[in-house]
Amino acid sequence: MKRGISKVLAIAMCPIMLAGCSSPAPEEKTTVTFQTWNPADSGPDSPIYKIIDQFEKENPDIDVEYVYVGSSSHQDQLRVKLMGGEGPDVYGISSGASFDAFRDFEEDLTPYCKTTWGDNFKDRFLESCLSNVDDADGTIYGLPLGQTYAGYLWADVNMMKEYGCDIPTNYTEMLEVSKKLREQGQFPLALGAMDSWLNLDMWMSIAADCDKDAMYDAIAGKASFETEPIIESFKIWQDSFNNGIFQDSAISMTLYNEVNDMFQREGSIPMFANGSWAMNMYTLSDEETKKTFNSDGADHDIFLIDWNDDGKIAPVTASVDVILCMNPESKVKEAAFRWMSYLVDEGQDMLVNQYLEYMPSRSDMKLNVTGLSEDGQQNLDYIIENGKNNVAGTRGIEYAELSNAVCDALEALALGDITPEEAAQKVQQTSETISR
């Protein structure tokens, strides 16, 4: 009986053992979780899915599990997950205060960068981008995915012509153009001033036009906000509301999706304020945007003006759009970095050259945007030119409380609740209380 059972078992074991001999068992895949708000999931055609597919083909041992969370709740969710020990292996974060706040959950990437790209890895990235992802000691805590420039204005050239207006080049011209547009029942320069980040972008460009050193020194705590150039910038900001350069009640309109939709989809307003990232209007696939931006004869200009009428146009500010960070508690760090480096290299090529989501953060990257109209190419050239020669410094204020104080002051100025001098005084008071 026993022998019979043994025979049956031996026969049953044969296929299993033979299977073991025929080929090696399939390698278990490593899963890298990746949470971000950008690159976004805008449907099955989103570039991020193409990048993930390509990466998984080239790295068959890794699966990327992409979790998209909208910008309004990405950081909140991320914070809870990381603190609860359930954070993603790789995540995207915005530069400035957020990047600094999450420091305890950002792996030091310096050794990974050295291993992957060699000791001179810093040369691969633009200096302006690197300063956004390192600390005072030069330790790298994130990889820059795309560069953005803020402070730009956009105009629909054809619509401006219809109203008998040229693209303004300075404050005085902007004032005249705004008046002309208003007289004909049209919006002047549209601003989504309910978004404090946009107000900050605009003000930084104005303040940098007045005196960029005065602005950055004040932010760094090396100088006071109560200086002539800063007060002048607050005055220009307030005058732009009082004199009708911005539309009525700009303070109650958001950029996304109120003002932006009016310019991008409806094509119903002649000018609005938005950054270089709005270049993706040329590559978006929705029919309304396509019609506005890529139909025959469509002509739009991205431009800067001389806010303080001193003969030179305002500079832009620059920042990394998305910083890719690695969770120090990740159990698959090697695979995680492979994904991060791929996204910054091949991924960024696609995001920039096919979709114009950002400007490059890599110094070796060539811009060769496919299918861009002549109009789009001209605007891209303008951004590149200014990116090379007209950047004032870092976009945004890295100290959250100071940033909020400036935003509050800008809002109060817009409403006429305080004078530029009082605004400077209030911001300076906050500036003195923060530890840098």
Partner: protein, 290 residues
């Protein structure tokens, strides 16, 4: 006897554990971190005693929040209560198609705040909003105001939108209360020759006393928690004119990374809620005695 007691405790143990884990612990944790300087993310927390509270007392935004809370709660409770009672009376009075009206008045409660905020933003936008376009169309240009860009008007609209959304709730509460009033009381009033107005003010209104308390207390607690409509409609602006406890907690916690101060606001909010609840319980027990 002891064993019996022990088994009694065992019966309520699951409830106690859940209560401790989901109510007591978060409250205690919140109170604790209100004494720290903490960005809400890092592992390091710095004990600073009552500094967050001291800052709040001096914070002009917090003072604005307290004023907003009082204005919002009293206007909402009174107007919403009157409207709710009015509609409930109509329904109770046998209005034709009352079922349909009840559903329509209740419908806004089902709508998500994002949709409500978005719809009202389009209605109230200054330049091309439906309300101002309508006013201009009627040659009332001077009445076409910057509704959401003027601090006082923005707060007024937050209150109006909230009332629009929640009147259905007050109506249902009052309607239920009215159903509980015995018909004999109305018959007696009729025999005494009471007019419809007298019937309402001398019979219905006083007999709805417990409903008034409920509507008041629920309104106060609801006002204390107000977040969605101001957040979507005005973002707490312009210049903090529509800032409430919850919107400020959100800003401090998630935008300013000042979790310690945000927790101090939560603690103060909790104290206010406790005072309101204490008043509610006192009234309740007083009624019980009577």
């Amino acid at each position: 006897m002891r064993k019996k007691h022990l088994s009694n405790y065992l019966y309520i143990a699951p409830m106690l554990i859940l209560f401790a884990a989901f109510i007591i612990y978060p409250i205690v944790y919140n109170v604790r971190i209100s004494f720290f300087e903490w960005n809400g993310i890092s592992r390091e927390m710095k004990l600073i005693g009552f500094q967050n509270y001291a800052e709040l007392v001096k914070d002009p935004i917090f003072v604005r929040i307290l004023i907003n809370f009082l204005v919002f709660s009293f206007s909402t409770i009174i107007i919403q209560g009157i409207l709710g009672m009015f509609f409930a009376s109509l329904m109770r009075g046998g209005l034709k198609l009352s079922g349909l009206y009840r559903t329509l008045i209740y419908l806004p409660i089902v709508a998500t705040p994002t949709i409500v905020g978005s719809v009202f933003s389009k209605i109230l936008e200054t330049n091309k909003g439906y309300l101002n376009e309508m006013l201009r169309g009627a040659h009332l240009d001077s009445a076409a105001l910057p509704w959401l860009a003027t601090p006082g008007l923005a707060l007024m609209w937050v209150i109006i939108v909230n009332i629009w959304q929640w009147t259905g709730y007050s109506m249902l509460v009052y309607y239920t209360g009215m159903l509980n009033i015995p018909t004999e009381v109305y018959e007696a009033a009729d025999i005494d020759g009471a007019s419809p107005l007298q019937r309402f003010f001398l019979v219905t209104f006083p007999m709805l006393r417990s409903t008034h308390y409920t509507v008041f207390i629920m309104g106060m607690i609801g006002s204390l928690k107000t977040f969605d409509i101001p957040y979507v409609l005005t973002g707490g602006g312009p210049n903090h004119a529509t800032e409430f406890f919850s919107t400020y907690i959100n800003t401090l916690s998630f935008e300013s990374f000042n979790q310690g101060k945000a927790s101090a606001v939560v603690v103060l909010m909790l104290l206010i809620a406790m005072v309101i609840t204490a008043i509610q319980l006192r009234i309740y027990y007083k009624q019980e005695k009577e």
